[in-house]
């Protein structure tokens, strides 16, 4: 087959490309064959029409996110790319297994550090790492969360290196967002390319809201009746507010703000026009800090005074549990492979990105000497904030980070700059390769459930490695193919 017009001039360069194998000559991988052919038949106008359709569909439906730091919190759509990312089933199975193994280990770890701390006694993880973690919550020590699960919803970010190996970049075990885009992207792709979609037997993702609801209901402390579950949102100005309403509506549960809830006699009630209704399970999309002004941040207007008391007395369940942030601290991250070996007696199926911990003297010396070849990250930030990409930074920025690292070594880690895999993406000048990652969503209720695929995020800026929505990233639909 000759190279389609759209791909004339396309180059994989030295990166691992999802669609093409080999260097120089473009050869589509077999699972991309149909998409490649479809793209070949599309005219320029058809492409731009479909893009417009998709964009306006997002805007009209109000599928937007809010950018912090922008004046007045402007709403933007999360840019959507029409070329789907395809994962063959055999490849996905490995990822799924690896994620399951990882979430189990992370939950055992959380249970351990809030109970007997065997992993510390056995000198696998140093105690000061845990105690100094910003998201460690001493209130949780000795407490058994409902069903002994801590991180019920986890979004783990995966990347592929230049060899095509999947690596875990980070675990988001607090309030990961993006599941609504996963669902909406799929709807839009089905409308934009019905035939191609239909011809490829893509595994469906629409079960996510049902699975999420089952995960929540499983936690209810009152078994005698149908659990009352609610989604607690920080409110309409939160960047992920659309997602909160979307998920609440899909699950058929109430979306509440802190002011809708009230604690009376260590139980949580929501205020309705018919009076107070007791709440069993709270899917909170609010960080620990803001949950309860009586225990955490006093000035928080978003939370519910008395919530922690009700939680610790076992009268209400929270998903995720309080204190899961220790597990997605980027310093703890470095120890996840050790946790898997320690708790499960197994080798990790998915590897970590090699990580230097600045609080270790030897690591720090190495980091400070090689800043221009490393990515430096703040241990407790997410969303691509507080980050230095060595080879794209100025001397001034590097000096600034060096100073920060010396001052707060515990707060920084560094990783080699991985040449992230790329994926063909519609850009201003036609189709070009852009760096992508993958965020699958893991649900842990009675058992671990992972909808096939996840949210593929793409760095739309040429050469950029940052895929976060707040930093100019976009998304793609992710197709896990069924194999017969």
């Amino acid at each position: 087959m000759s190279i389609p017009r759209q791909f004339q001039g396309y180059s994989t360069e030295h990166f691992f490309d999802k669609m093409f194998s080999g260097n120089g000559e473009l050869r589509a991988r077999s699972h991309y064959e149909k998409i490649y052919q479809r793209l070949d038949r599309l005219t320029e106008t058809e492409i731009s029409e479909r893009r417009q359709q998709a964009d306006s569909s997002f805007l009209e439906h109000g599928i937007t996110f809010t950018v912090y730091g922008d004046e007045g919190g402007t709403e933007r759509i999360f840019p959507f790319d029409l070329i789907p990312r395809v994962i063959p089933e055999s490849e996905w199975n490995v990822v799924e297994n690896g994620l399951r193994q990882r979430i189990i280990a992370l939950n055992l770890f959380l249970n351990d550090i809030y109970h007997d701390r065997k992993i510390i006694k056995d000198k696998i993880i140093p105690e000061e790492i845990i105690n100094s973690s910003k998201n460690y919550r001493p209130e949780m020590v000795g407490f058994d969360p409902p069903q002994e699960v801590y991180a019920h919803i986890c979004g783990t970010d995966l990347i592929r290196d230049d060899q095509g190996n999947y690596l875990v970049l980070e675990d988001n075990a607090r309030c990961p967002s993006g599941a609504s885009y996963l669902l909406e992207n799929r709807e839009i792709m089905k409308r934009a390319f019905p035939q191609t979609f239909g011809g490829m037997s893509v595994r469906p993702v629409e079960a996510y809201p049902d699975l999420l609801l089952r995960t929540l209901e499983y936690l209810s402390p009152r078994k005698s009746q149908k659990p009352v579950c609610v989604l607690l949102t920080p409110g309409v100005y939160n960047s992920a507010y659309f997602e909160h309403t979307f998920l609440a509506r899909q699950m058929g549960i109430e979306i509440v703000e802190g002011k809708d809830l009230i604690a009376i006699d260590s139980c949580i009630y929501m205020r309705t026009t018919r009076g107070l209704v007791q709440v069993d399970v709270i899917y909170r999309r609010l960080d620990d800090d803001f949950l309860d002004p009586m225990v955490f941040r006093e000035e928080s207007m978003l939370g519910v005074a008395g919530l922690m008391d009700a939680y610790l007395k076992g009268n209400v369940a929270l998903a995720n549990a309080v204190g899961t942030g220790v597990a997605d601290d980027k310093v703890t991250y470095a120890y996840v492979p050790d946790m898997i070996k320690y708790y499960l007696n197994q080798e990790p199926i998915l590897s970590n990105v090699p990580t230097y911990l600045c609080w270790r003297d030897t690591d720090r010396a190495h980091v400070l000497e090689n800043l221009e070849n490393l990515v430096v990250k703040a241990a407790n930030e997410s969303g691509g904030y507080g980050m230095l990409i060595g080879n794209q930074s100025t001397l001034k920025e590097r000096d600034e980070f060096a100073r920060l690292i010396e001052a707060h070594p515990r707060e920084y880690i560094a990783q080699p700059i991985i040449s992230l895999s790329r994926h063909p993406t519609f850009c201003q000048e036609g189709i070009e390769g852009r760096h992508v990652d993958l965020r699958p969503f893991i649900l842990y209720g009675e058992d671990v459930e992972i909808v096939p695929g996840g949210l593929t995020r793409v760095a739309l800026k040429k050469g950029s490695l940052v895929v976060n929505s707040s930093q100019g990233g976009g998304s793609k639909d992710t197709w896990v193919l069924r194999e017969f």
Binding site: V236, Y241, L276
Partner: protein
Amino acid sequence: MLSRVADNLYWMSRYIERADGMARMIQVHQSQALEYAQNDQQLEEFWQPVLQSICAESVHPSEIGVRKIGKTLLFDESFSNSILSCISLARENARMVRDQLSEELWLELNNIYLFFRNGDALDLYNQGSDLLLDRITRFSLVFQGLADATIPHGEGWRFLSLGKYLERADQTSRMLDTLNLRLKEPSRADLMSVLRCCIALSAFRQQFRGHLSLQNVASFLLFSEDFPRSIRFCIRAIDYSLHAISGVPTGTFSNEAEKLTGSTLAMVNFTDWNQVQAKGLHQTLDELQTTLIEIGQRVFETYVLLPSEIKSLGERTSAQLAQAQQQQ
């Protein structure tokens, strides 16, 4: 349903009704001004009572220029009752309760919002203000139609009705009040304008065979039994919605809002023009507006606040109440 959700639905509905009333008010008065006001001085005199009746004290014709009043009432976000403000606030309320709305309803509201935000509304205004004003009134009709046709007629929908009729009664009373605020006797054109603002012209003609007088216009807008914008009709609808929400039969009451509405309904049911004249039309309308504000307040207390919060009407709550009042 969540108290906050009820509150949001109520306000969303009110703001849309308000935008609708504003649009018609601007349209009618702009066209009247074309015929009757020759110079800036006259224009200012013409607009003054209108602005006063809609509480637009912050809009000063001398500062913005009398010929820009319409544009200000449409687009000025610093004026909290401008159409753009109303639509933004309606959408903001809707955004908080999106899960309660049908997709169609949300799309309609979001589209008009985006239409204002991306500058298309201003373009249309520059082509001809009537084009834009028509579009707004049509939007409100479509919105209310969709609300009736696509939302279950349960509790949430009752709160939508409640907001709509409270706002409508308020609008009608304010339009009627412009007649009092004019320095001279209302002219035939003034009376016509008021009827037009309330889309009441043809209904009025059917009833009074074209006999246009202050007495007839005021009686019609106050007491008409079946005209959907008359104050009596609106208060009856409020009474009905309140009882549908509480489940208590009409004629009795279970909360302050119902009690106040019931007595107001009795008042409009058993009052005639002579009594209005004795008290003075302005005085009557003023009292009515105060009562409407109070009904809104009582609804808020009954369904949104907890009993304990009303009892301890401390600093914080009263600040909240002031805030709620301000929006009206």
